[in-house]
Symmetry: C2
Amino acid sequence: MTIQNDLFLRAARGEQTERPPVWLMRQAGRILPQYRAIRSKLSGFVELVTTPDLAAEVTIQPVDELGVDAAIIFSDILVIPEAMGLPYELIEKKGPLFPTTIKSGADVSKLISGEDAAAHLPYVYDAVSLTKKALDGRVPLIGFAGAPWTLLSYMVEGSGSKTFSKAKKFLYTEEAIAHQLLQKITDTTIAYLKNKIKAGADLVQVFDSWAGILSPTQYQVFALPYIRQICEAIDEVPVTVFAKGAWFAMDEIGKLPCQVVGIDWNTNLADVRKKIPGDKVLQGNLDPCQLYASSEKVRQATLDMIGNFNGKHIANLGHGVYPDTPLDNVKVFVNTIKDFRYSTA
Amino acid sequence: MTIQNDLFLRAARGEQTERPPVWLMRQAGRILPQYRAIRSKLSGFVELVTTPDLAAEVTIQPVDELGVDAAIIFSDILVIPEAMGLPYELIEKKGPLFPTTIKSGADVSKLISGEDAAAHLPYVYDAVSLTKKALDGRVPLIGFAGAPWTLLSYMVEGSGSKTFSKAKKFLYTEEAIAHQLLQKITDTTIAYLKNKIKAGADLVQVFDSWAGILSPTQYQVFALPYIRQICEAIDEVPVTVFAKGAWFAMDEIGKLPCQVVGIDWNTNLADVRKKIPGDKVLQGNLDPCQLYASSEKVRQATLDMIGNFNGKHIANLGHGVYPDTPLDNVKVFVNTIKDFRYSTA
């Protein structure tokens, strides 16, 4: 199917575009009244994730309401641990909770992985297919997965944490078991992303949400090699790597075989540009809190951001949009970018 | 009074030393059985902070038990908001909670500041005096304060937070009021630190614990100018600035009139060295989770750290020591540093 607005994909492939494409992490979510209306009728987030037609519906809502240049499939990074045999719950206002966590090599041995595990997630692939059909080529569809370290961190810690000290302790004390687990997660993630691509995803993004709590050495040992495996395995579509807080690893991230690198808002862009080769496209990075400001300030900050990146840029926030962000300001952000044109001088 | 072990102060002044001095952030705390014994008899953390002879006792415990090269007065950064008129509670396992928060210019106007506010903290100055007396010159005593942005973040947010989005929103929407509040905090902090120094503190450290959640622009506008005021006002003793996660501002931090810069564990030291002038001393930065590893790995990682800094270095962790850290490994960390000697070649 031909994609009518392919600006996002052209930019992701490194082509020169007339303006940066724009989408927002967490654009399908609580910022939209349409989303809240659906969500209020359901038992919880998990029902939304596991019901393909509902997941497809909320995936498309921001395309309709905001006019963004890409949709991202509504799902959750923790479906992978669940498919591997480690189920989780989402506790309202608290976040994910794993009733059982990984403590030993025996725990890791029990987990299934690769295509066997990925086969447990038909509802995701169905949601992708349904979304593609409903989008009818209007904009590209992004698939995503959590990076192996981030998934391990939840599987060992059992929940969110300020320090993830249990997960980090696991890396320091159970190095061999940690690598076994990371490999199983990686194999599953590759199979999962390939299934998503077969179902229609036009680009995949890997979220390393907890990159920033590892030391540079741990990140090189336990995180980057597995992200690299994923990048190397996915050759069907462009890959975006967003490693939040991994400014210390930008040199290595710049060498990954991915097309796009996500940049968070607390990043000195001049530093990043020195570390990431010019052929890579950068995605980001307005502070999500900037959208609390007046619309005029949002507009100016958005223009400043475009100017700072100055090409090879996919416009986004530097993190997921916060649920209480004024919708009008989200629209100012999107429309400022859509009204912009790079000078052709 | 002559300080017998003045290694820490010599290093902080930039002098060449025979080895790095060592202390640990949160060394006076739950890692020590002596601390837990005292703490278990009290109503709570606040009682310990506000009772000078107990605060002095736990301040000295790590000097006795670990043989560190400096003591740091046992206290809390949130005594400053309290002295300004905004009291807080510490909820067990949850952290600080401000029943009333700052929402408006009227709220800021009601706060007292400067010497008037600092005068409300005699128990801190008494604890410093008592500690100095009891230390009897064994090692120097560090005084500390929270950086103005970090204190504002609690005063506006009302508690800890993953995003501090309320506090950041305040900066974006109430810029003038934010500056008024930051100035009042700064004036109070300067008076407070000067009182601590008069009572005997040999160096003061400013903790900007939430530096890393601001954008580079916000950090320059709302954080650095106030830290600079503090550094400029304190000329009696050396000043350490530890801005956690502010890797994006290392150029500017390197230009502050302070003697020591704290470095967190997720820092690429080679990058930092390019940004911080060579006359500044660096403090840090072992990953606190490294102390969960085997004693042999702790020893090796500690030696690696010393080698990476290679002089102009005060050894420490990159963050406060975690309460469940094995005490034996803390001792391996300390003793590895104490047994080390820089080569004189």
